[in-house]
């Protein structure tokens, strides 16, 4: 039992590090990781694209993809190792994540060889950027309840409707889209999956402003948007199975939450003067710190268990499904407690606040992390049903035609 790389893993790690040292800048030590602070910086996209090209040429895009996809034919653990190393550098691969981690695997698995050969190479080099068009205002956690219509029209399809929670529509060349091609069958049966050229006429993108003030998501409206049938992925009415392939790859489970963690609270406690000495000397603060540390370590070593499975060529066990819900709630508790310690001066925003103002900033974006990519409630359902094998809730929407499923005044 150890945390060491195998010889092969160590060699690969050295290779990855060498590439990164030559092509990117290390993060400053102790730099506070805000929420998408980097992506909002000027010129970010250009820098991201040029790095992505070099990364692809060096064989670090699609590391664990089979060679016939254009990948390196490497292992999952090599992928993890590269990401661990990349995380120490100031790069923005995340912008291309939807194309690389979601769209391309879906096209490769469910699409035709022609579709694969047309789209994968430019996506890997960021010559074409991708976005996702799944969620709808009426859907929310009930993703399959989407209403955007796809109607047959000669050799193609006409799309009308609206999507939401889209990232990057405004800079994307293509999007993966799920639409309802038949409302007279139960909801999962009437869906079809498409590739949409985002420059098609009738596509309108409107940014959604978040509580935090920034706008990382869009609404996308479709008015008689035409899609040729050769841009369809999988059979007509088979869109849900294709979408599930995409969602599998999303691997919410392993996702952590950016923002203040134990280390930031520990730093704060070492700075703050309380009534009777440093916060770190106060037993009440120590107890809270200990609770957060134990949870953070639990997440860290749960990820290590998953990585060990990958390193043995397996897949992470069910325990990985706990990570997102624990991380998002821990974040909200930590920032709330940090603000409580800062006290009367706490409400002020700005990098001159303790720990670079991360607690105040996180207050405004943290609610999204308990919702986006699967709400706490959905994650607990998944654990209860898929991991513990508890029975499904009563489903009133299952065997009825979609058009007959009850909907409320709030959609």
């Amino acid at each position: 039992m150890d945390f060491e790389d195998s010889a092969e893993e160590a060699a690969f790690r050295a290779e990855a590090r060498a590439f990164l040292e030559a092509n990117a800048e290390r993060r400053k030590p102790g730099a506070v990781e805000g929420y998408r602070r980097g992506q909002d910086a000027p010129g970010a996209m250009e820098r991201a694209k040029s790095f992505q090209r070099r990364k692809a040429d060096a064989g670090f895009v699609g590391i664990h993809w089979p060679k016939e996809w254009g990948g390196r034919g490497g292992t999952q653990i090599q992928n993890v190792i590269y990401n661990q190393e990349e995380a120490q550098f100031d790069v923005l691969s995340g912008i291309f994540g939807i194309g690389i981690h979601l769209a391309m695997p879906t096209i490769c698995v469910c699409g035709t060889p022609e579709q694969r050969d047309r789209f994968v190479p430019p996506a890997m080099r960021a010559d074409e950027v991708w976005c996702q068009l799944f969620s709808e205002p009426s859907g929310g956690s009930d993703l399959a309840a989407l209403r955007t219509r796809a109607e047959r029209d000669g050799d193609g399809w006409v799309i009308n409707g609206q999507k939401i929670w889209n990232s990057g529509a405004h800079y994307s060349d293509f999007g993966i889209l799920v639409a309802r091609s038949d409302a007279n069958v139960p909801k999962h049966a009437g869906l079809t999956f498409f590739i949409l050229d985002m420059k098609s006429p009738g596509v309108e993108v409107r940014p959604i402003r978040q509580l935090s003030g920034s706008a990382h998501f869009n609404e996308v409206f479709f008015t008689n948007v035409r899609i040729p049938d050769n841009m369809r992925i999988g059979p007509v009415g088979g869109g849900w199975r294709v979408a599930l392939t995409t969602l599998m790859n999303e691997r919410h489970g392993m996702r952590d939450s950016p923002g203040p963690d134990f280390q930031e609270l520990f730093t704060l406690a070492n700075q703050l003067e309380l009534e009777d000495g440093l916060a770190i000397d106060n037993a009440a603060v120590q107890e809270k710190l200990a609770d957060f540390y134990v949870r953070s370590q639990g997440l860290k070593y749960t990820k290590y268990r998953g990585m060990t499975a990958l390193s043995r060529g397996g897949t992470p066990g069910p325990e990985s499904s706990i990570i997102k819900v624990v991380a998002a709630n821990k974040l909200q508790e930590i920032l709330s407690y940090g603000l409580d310690l800062i006290g009367m001066a706490g409400p002020t925003m700005g990098e001159d606040m303790p720990v670079a103002g991360i607690f105040e900033e996180a207050l405004l974006y943290s609610p999204a992390l308990r919702i986006a990519g699967g709400t706490d409630e959905i994650m607990r359902n998944i654990i209860a049903e898929r991991v513990l094998g508890l029975p499904q809730d009563v489903r009133v929407d299952k065997d009825v035609p979609f058009r007959d499923v009850p909907t409320g005044s709030r959609g």
């Binding site: 969620s135 205002p137 929310g140 956690s141 009930d142 309840a145 939401i164 929670w165 959604i208 402003r209 978040q210 509580l211 935090s212 003030g213 700075q271 703050l272 003067e273 309380l274 009534e275 009440a284 909200q332 709330s336 603000l339 409580d340 310690l341 800062i342 006290g343 009367m344 001066a345 706490g346 409400p347 002020t348 925003m349 700005g350 606040m353 303790p354 105040e360 207050l363 405004l364 974006y365 609610p367 999204a368 308990r370 919702i371 986006a372 709400t375 706490d376 409630e377 607990r380 809730d393 489903r395 009133v396 929407d397 009825v400 499923v405 009850p406 909907t407 409320g408 709030r410 959609g411």
Partner: protein, 374 residues
């Protein structure tokens, strides 16, 4: 046993709710959030005309003489409406400080104008991150001139004067400073809740007038206790509004073919919010009783009311967002007002850790009083 507000104050509460639901829907805090104004001056004026700003000011000083209980019911409604007005700064803190520690001349000079809403006052204390501990203050007064820097002063950019807490030694700890006078530099700061404006204020030998009764650090604590009770009602009102918003949405929003409010995940979440809000309300009543009857256990009652109200506000406002799902964290939805305001209130008079520590200290000095019996 008469642990409730008198009927005339319940009428006042109903009037306040009717007035605010018409005059201060959420479009009003939204205007302040998005626009340039620091607060809704029109609303403030009408509140003054109705005598709200002078509710607890004796009639001899131009107030309505309704006492603290009246301020408590008004506070609850203002919290429910997340009203963007300097009520807490001017009424719970500035007015209260002058009532508690001011000379008769000072009362004559300030209270009538505060009652009329012509003067807006505030309270300036925080100098650095950490607890609101008066003994740690650095700001000081030397022959009538006050120097020091105060952070995140609520309404500091719009108030006419401030009650400033300083390390007073054997002299008074609270001083009146005209914020328009020389030696005062104020810079508006952005906070987690832009619907209530704040400023950083630097005092550099500003003319200061002591509140003669405010001797010893205890007087600062006393002011915080009184304000904590009234603010607790504002917090309960805010939490209640967040709960109602979540409840209404859960009834109307459908997923999987049924209202999301029919899922136990949502039902039990909102039941827990209801529990927190009712515990906070009961504890706020206890605080109101102690404030109203000038009971010796005010420090205990104020701490209990504040801790309970802070917990309820945080839980109710964050779970309201959670209940709304994706829409909950959008700018267009109103969830943000309760979430921002609840946390602002929770920091305003110092965080709960400070108050818990103080609560136990108070219980140990007089633990015969007010231990839960039944």
């Amino acid at each position: 046993m008469n642990f409730d507000f008198p009927d005339e104050l319940k009428q006042l509460r109903d009037e306040a709710r009717r007035f605010l639901s018409e005059r201060c829907p959420t479009s009003v805090p939204r205007r302040i959030l998005e626009g340039g104004e620091p607060y809704d001056r029109e609303l403030w004026r009408s509140m003054a005309e109705m005598g709200w700003t002078g509710a607890a000011i004796p009639e001899e000083y131009g107030g309505a003489g309704l006492g603290h209980l009246a301020v408590c019911v008004l506070a609850e409604e203002l919290g429910h409406a997340v009203a963007p007005v300097p009520f807490s700064s001017s009424v719970y803190l500035a007015t209260e400080a002058i009532k508690l520690f001011g000379s008769d001349a000072q009362k004559q000079q300030y209270l009538p104008k505060l009652a009329a809403g012509e003067l807006v006052g505030t309270f300036a204390m925080a100098e650095r991150p950490g607890p609101a501990d008066p003994r740690k203050l650095i700001a000081h007064v030397a022959n009538g001139h006050l120097s020091g820097t105060k952070l995140a002063v609520p309404d500091g950019d719009v108030a006419n004067f401030a009650v400033v807490a300083v390390h007073g030694g054997n002299a008074p700890w609270l001083h009146l400073v005209d914020l328009g006078g020389s030696g005062v530099t104020r810079a508006t700061v952005t906070t987690i809740d832009p619907t209530r404006s704040h400023a950083r204020i630097v005092f550099d030998g500003a003319a200061a007038e002591p509140l003669p009764g405010s001797e010893g650090a205890e007087s600062v604590r006393r002011l915080l206790d009184c304000a904590a009770v009234m603010l607790a009602f504002e917090q309960v009102g805010c939490a209640q509004a967040a709960l109602e918003m979540a409840r209404d949405y859960a009834r109307e929003r459908y997923a999987f073919g049924r209202p999301i409010g029919s899922f136990q995940a949502i039902k039990h979440k909102l039941a827990d919010v209801y529990i927190a809000v009712e515990l906070a309300r009961s504890n706020a009543y206890y605080g109101a009783w102690a404030l109203h009857s000038d009971a010796a256990e005010l420090p205990i009652a104020a701490s209990v009311a504040r801790i309970s109200a802070c917990d309820a506000g945080w839980l109710a406002s964050k779970e309201n967002i959670q209940t709304h799902g994706g829409m909950g964290f959008t700018w267009q939805m109103d969830c943000q007002f309760y979430y921002r305001r609840a946390k602002l209130h929770a920091l305003a008079l110092g965080g709960t850790r400070e108050w818990k520590q103080r609560l136990i200290a108070e219980l140990r000095t007089r633990n015969t009083i007010a231990l839960p019996t039944d």
